[in-house]
Amino acid sequence: MADKIFRVNMTDLSTSIEDVPADWAGHGGRGLTSTIVAAEVPPTCHPLGPNNKLIFAPGLLSGTAAANSGRISAGAKSPLTGTIKEANSGGTSAQQLAKLGCKALIIEGQPKDDDWYSLSLTPEGVTINKEEELIGKGNFDVVESVEKRFTDKIGILSIGQAGEMQMSAANISVKDPDSHVRSLGRGGLGAVMGSKKIKFIALDAQGGKVDIADPDAFKAANKTFAKALVDHPVSQALGTYGTNVLVNIINEAGGLPTRNFTKGQFEGHEQISGETMHDLIVERGGKPKHACHQGCVIQCSQIYNDLKGKYKTSGIEYESIWAMGADCTVDNLDQIAEMDHLLDDIGIDTIETAVAFGVAMEGGVLDFGDSNEMIRIMKDEIAQGTPLGRVIGNGAANVGRTYGVTRVPVVKNQAIPAYDPRAIKGIGITYATSTQGADHTMGYTIATEILGVGGSADPLSKEGQVELSRNLQIATAAIDSTGMCLFIAFAALDDGTCLPALVDMLNARFGIGLTADDVTNLGMSILKTEHAFNTAAGFTNLDDRLPEFFETEPIPPHNAVWDFTGEEIDTFWNF
């Protein structure tokens, strides 16, 4: 079965299934969502208006037996940043879409009335249904109810109250194999889905399978690939401590932004660390190791239980724990887990929302460290859409503007995550130049600057950082197109067998003859496509800058400032 483009027009409630245009055929995941947004979305459109489009695409290898290939991409013009956006998540939806024969789902237009809808995808196509029962509900109710209506085997993409209210930090939830949720987190794509009046999308592949051109070659390459992943020590640590193993090392390096980016170390780091979390999880009968999608051999997710041993949350990440923890000076993991659960239910990005809380704390809205008040605001203000809830739910920059705070850690209006760019300078280049606002995953220089993976670079020196960020951003754009989890990069940087095996799998899946250079070129062309969209939307090199306070406020313990000139940053695009 050849893959098709599934298209839904919410203005006239029509659907169609189309052949894949030739110049989209080699794309998947991020490469495809960005290519379609660039081709079909007017760059100057309002992100929440009828001319924006929301695209979902599985990666090129999603739905196959390839290890760690279950990532889905969603793309649109972002209501948070105004740039092109791709958000990426695990869960079961990538595999369902691929097995449906859906190369991309394009949702366009906008209903003229106030009715809400859901979409249902099967191999035959898309149906649009009116939805009333689940409007106003959180994601966990949605998943439970939709599974009852269909089966518990289906994939679900849904929005919570934040998406319905079109808050620019709203995310899209992706059901995971345990009927909990993962998130297409950053950039407010949940608001775009809300603007299309779609509460949820049910994906039922009905036993469909992905075609493999050369099954034997595929199997052999996957064996080599999976071995490279499993053997890498980073994979092993991720399975034990999760990504939260980073709290202590980033704190030790003096780059853990604390108390709204005023310090680089947090006194309570040990209480919120991966080591402490691991021990709590084991003590309470949870699972330190857990897969966000079938076929993951790294398993950095976990099941976190509360004090009574009852399920509280899963897949809680370092960046979320940092944001609710160190940035807001909260040193209690149970409170952080409660907030993680609430934000997942409301359907709003944990990084953006918690950084917004940090700015609100500085603005005097609540006290630093007051996690009870954070929880109250999440439940009573954000989920209810009160004025304060909307101020915070529209992100850190919005909070700064509302309360007159100047220390606002954002690039292109998107909150800077868990690594201070003054003390870890390469990641600052990624924040500044990323096509999507501040986002560590776009070019994870931390691997080289702090973790010693893929070589080493002095985090306090400017030397080599632009090139490091550029190389990683190019590689990441390519990896994000394959459906692979970004954590394959640790093995790929260190183990010479990993990337060739990935290229072999792509070739065996499609019966083509890509080389490693082709993959690099793919990454470059994706970045250029995204950059061209942003330029046409009105962004210039002067938007590729960090907030002023990073240049003027030294951060302890290193007392470092951000000292890249604009000219130095701009050399990023010399390729």
Binding site: P233, V234, G242, L246, E252, A253, E275, C300, T441
Partner: protein
Amino acid sequence: MRVQVKLFAFFREGRFVKEDKELPEGTTAGAVVDDLNIDREEVGVLMINSRHCKFETVLQEGDIYAIFPVIGGG
């Protein structure tokens, strides 16, 4: 000389989280790793006073020395 040694992740198992040690002048970072029966191959990152260092780096009085296995995330 007195040096504070900090261990992380599974290096803590059967050892300690943080300990002040009295060490002879000239002790290298690597010698402390060896004394703790940590395989150098398993070491990912060494930091003295929040700066990366090497096995050969000589410790000084009052240093805070952190030893991490190979870890990652993001």
